[in-house]
Amino acid sequence: MDAVVGRLQQVVELLAVSQLDCVNEWDHQTMLRAFEWAQYCEQVHARSHANPALRSALESRLHDTNQRLRETLPSYSPVMFSELAQCQHKLLVNLLRNPSSPSSIINIFSLDRKTAEQWLDMDQTPVITGKSALKMLCCSSDRSSYSGLQVETEVRGKLLKTHLKSILTQHGNENSARILLDSILHDSAGKTENLYDVMAAALLASDDDTNNLSRDVILDWLQSHDGCLSKLCRSLSPRLCCILSRESVTFQRAYCDVLKRWANSLEYDVMQSAWVPTCSITSDETVTFNVLFDRFRALLNSGSPVKEETETKLAELKVESGDFNVKGISVWTDLILQLKV
């Protein structure tokens, strides 16, 4: 096992090195060997699923290696354990982006049989074709599922859910699942609305997951992440949130809490005779009274049991906030009045 762990460390270091200038010293053989090592690393990763002892040894060595590399290389971004399944791909991308890489790197894409033979497993045609086929098909289908989500989003959501499920069943621990979601969030820094759509799709994806563990993990993660759930709810349409509420009681409750928080962020402006947002909620988009109104109206229109539960909840909240029947004092009263509940 030591040898395997040791080799893993070497591969991670190799991945780091592949981004540096020193690769201009690599000759063709060195490059071939690097890809062989990367392939080996992928096999080790696959084996580790069935071997918890191996897996934890690998993870711990990975953690140490990441730390060390971060100290020596300022721009180093740590490699996660799950990424080792894509070792060859990462190596290839690193080398392609690196101006100093040996010029024979391009031979991986060669269609000449003799040249391609050297690169046995590295045929990139399936990735290239698969990626563009996906794009083509997703563009051409204007099928909006009943949830209003695009095909691409739906599919990525389904795959995410499947992956989460397999992590949870294999390792039985939710920590890995959470780390996964953290990483995805981190890496989609620019486009969080798309991410929330994908997460909604993951929440909606149905399969024979009888105990809905993965769904709960996602919701749990959203709630524990500062503001994420709120951002997600804000980003998704009222209708989609209703659909999610229908599918999952947990989501419904969480959604209600979010709506409560939104409501509590409003205060009554006597001059305008309206409820206005204070600046303390999420910076992305402010929540106005109308937004709240739309949300609740959608909930009330989504049939039993959500309708009844929402009505009950609203009544409760009205009572909690003083049970006023006059406008301008409790946001709940005003909402109820406007919703004509």
């Binding site: 992928e42 996660m80 799950s82 990424e83 399944a85 894509q86 060859q88 791909h89 290839l92 991308v93 392609l96 982006r97 101006p99 890489s101 010029s103 024979s104 790197i105 391009i106 894409f109 060669s110 269609l111 990139q124 045609t125 399936p126 990735v127 290239i128 074709t129 698969g130 990626k131 563009s132 086929a133 996906l134 794009k135 083509m136 098909l137 563009c139 051409s140 289908s141 204007d142 099928r143 095909v151 691409e152 739906e154 599919v155 990525r156 795959l159 995410l160 992590i167 996964l180 990483s183 995805i184 981190h186 890496d187 989609s188 820094a189 620019g190 486009k191 798309n194 991410l195 994908v198």
Partner: protein
């Protein structure tokens, strides 16, 4: 060097720019429709680039190349098309300098590497990138899984949109089907998309108001006929049924491979024939069989002595009959529907498989065939009108189709004594010379008998006597009956007793000319197919002998070796 016209370059660069500006559905559809033309242009470009001695020269000669290739690489429709993808990658390879000599070349290299990187990975910071990166599997696997899911969703949608019932046309969500089918034009040969392709094809057939894109159907046909696509039998049969152009294309493609491709003769002919599922489709639909036959008949009228064509017709019919008998007989039309204008007295004996007749009864059966044919021939002699002539031709064509009976006759001639040979020789003669052209019928009959005698003596005398060798060689090279003699000769080679070495020695001495060898191979091909069909377990001796003979003939001639 292929010259590029200014308009051509302008057209494609403008197209590439307009496609690149937005990856909307309409853009992708427009690209789909232009793929054929684009491929030709890229092919020319590639040839031009291949003649450049350096990247710098290439960029001077084709200043548009960088922008064009770059934009095309960002167009998923172009990339997903197998052939265009290959052409683009080859072009990029040409522009890459293994040893860059200038800043321009180094920059070009980096640009190409970035382009390749873009092809295999997602844009950083996007959700697509993040989900793929952390999927715990290779990107290849991820995209395969994703594709499978999308295809399944879309297939479901296509199936739901039309169930083929007569008044469902109102429910057909036409617009989307058209878009999807156009988008699928470059995906026709993508195996993950197969369920969707099949569903769209089916939709075009069962839905009365289907607006599956015409070009999509054409693309499927072309891909199938040129064997770039694997399809389920049901879909192929439906395609042939509803798309006569496709059916003709398939029939002609098979014909071409037999007549023009020298490699085909070394393959198993029935595998060839079955590859495009023509016998299977013919057994299910009368009109398909009639269409294919019409095509082959017309060609045969022009080149009736062509052995390869005859072998094709024979094997095709044989495969077809096999399929037909395996179907439930009461469901289908009667045999006479498949063979119109022919009297039952001919159909009955000829359409019976030799394996269904006990070997001891072969001679009688063949006599029956001979009598039926003779009656038709005699009536032509009497009537001498166009209808009678047509009847003879039809009868003869049926014999060609059921050539396995002629082969059976030839096989019998190997072992028979001379008293019973007359009917068999008649059949052989009629088969090879149906018309009394130049009143050669009597001459041909004499030649047939003579050939048989000589060939017999050749094979039964050990060692082979030179005068018999000479006689047979003469007969083979004479214009009068060379196909008949060759036919007989080869049957002796396969079915006579005696050591194989003896036979191969004779073959080496007699069949020298390359053209003769080629024709011999076709005859052996047909014999092979017939023997494979027999239910009775064949003597291993004959099988191995056949194999050896084919190998001998396929081996390069000793005289042509340096």
């Amino acid at each position: 060097m292929a010259a590029f016209s200014e308009t051509e370059v302008q057209f494609w660069t403008t197209k590439a720019v307009s496609w690149g500006e937005n990856t909307s559905c309409l853009t992708l559809l427009d690209t789909s429709r232009h793929l054929n033309g684009l491929r030709s242009f890229l092919q020319k470009l590639l040839q031009g680039l291949q003649q450049m001695s350096s990247t710098s020269e290439a960029m001077r000669t084709f200043p548009f190349v960088g922008q064009l290739l770059g934009r095309l690489c960002w167009n998923p429709c172009v990339i997903v098309d197998e052939r265009s993808q290959r052409l683009l990658l080859r072009c990029l390879n040409c522009l890459y300098s293994a040893e860059p000599l200038s800043a321009v070349e180094r920059k070009a290299n980096m640009w190409i590497k970035n382009l390749l990187c873009h092809l295999i990975s997602e844009e950083e910071g996007s959700v697509a990138h993040a989900t793929v990166k952390h999927a715990g599997i290779s990107p290849e696997r991820y995209h395969m899984d994703a594709l499978e899911k999308v295809v399944s969703l879309m297939t479901e949608e296509v199936i739901k949109s039309c169930d083929g019932s007569p008044n469902s046309s109102a429910r057909c969500s036409n617009g989307n089907i058209n878009t999807m089918s156009t988008a699928c034009i470059p995906l026709v040969t993508c195996c993950q998309a197969a369920p969707l392709i099949g569903a769209l094809l089916k939709h075009s057939i069962i839905c009365a108001t289907s607006c599956v894109d015409e070009e999509f159907i054409e693309e499927v046909s072309k891909a199938w006929v040129s064997k770039r696509l694997v399809m389920e039998e049901e879909a192929v049969v439906a395609l042939y049924c509803h798309n006569p152009v496709c059916l003709e294309g398939a029939a002609l493609s098979l014909l071409e491979s037999v007549l023009c491709d020298p490699k085909t003769v070394s393959l198993s002919l029935d595998k060839c024939v079955n590859e495009l599922l023509l016998p299977q489709a013919s057994a299910l639909h009368c009109h398909i069989f009639l269409t294919v036959n019409e095509i082959y008949r017309n060609v045969l009228m022009e080149i009736d002595e062509n052995i390869a064509l005859r072998a094709l017709i024979q094997v095709y019919t044989n495969c077809f009959l096999q399929r037909l008998t395996s179907l439930k007989p009461q469901d289908g039309p009667p045999l006479s529907a498949f063979f119109p204008n022919l009297p039952p007295s001919l159909l009955c004996p000829l359409l019976t498989a030799p394996s269904d007749v006990p070997r001891t009864a072969w001679l009688d059966h063949l006599s029956w065939i001979r009598r039926s044919l003779q009656r038709v021939v005699e009536s032509e002699k009497e009537d001498r009108d166009a209808r009678a002539y047509q009847a003879v031709f039809d009868a003869w064509f049926l014999l060609v189709q059921c050539g396995f009976w002629v082969d059976t006759a030839a096989e019998l001639l190997v072992l028979l004594e001379s008293e019973n040979s007359e009917a068999l020789l008649w059949l052989l003669t009629f088969f090879h010379h149906p018309t009394n052209r130049g009143h050669q019928r009597s001459q041909q009959t004499v030649v047939a008998k003579e050939a048989w005698v000589h060939i017999r003596m050749l094979f039964y005398a050990r060692p082979p006597l030179p005068r018999h060798l000479c006689a047979v060689k003469d007969l083979l090279s004479s214009c009068l009956s060379r196909n008949l003699v060759l036919h007989l000769f080869l049957n002796f080679a396969v079915f006579s007793h005696g050591p194989v070495s003896f036979t191969t020695e004779i073959i080496d001495k007699v069949l020298i000319d390359a053209g003769v060898k080629q024709r011999a191979l076709w005859i052996l091909s047909a014999i092979d197919c017939r023997l494979n069909r027999t239910a009775v377990s064949l003597e291993a001796r004959v099988q191995s002998r056949l194999k050896t003979l084919r190998e001998t003939l396929l081996a390069p001639c000793a005289e042509t070796l340096p």
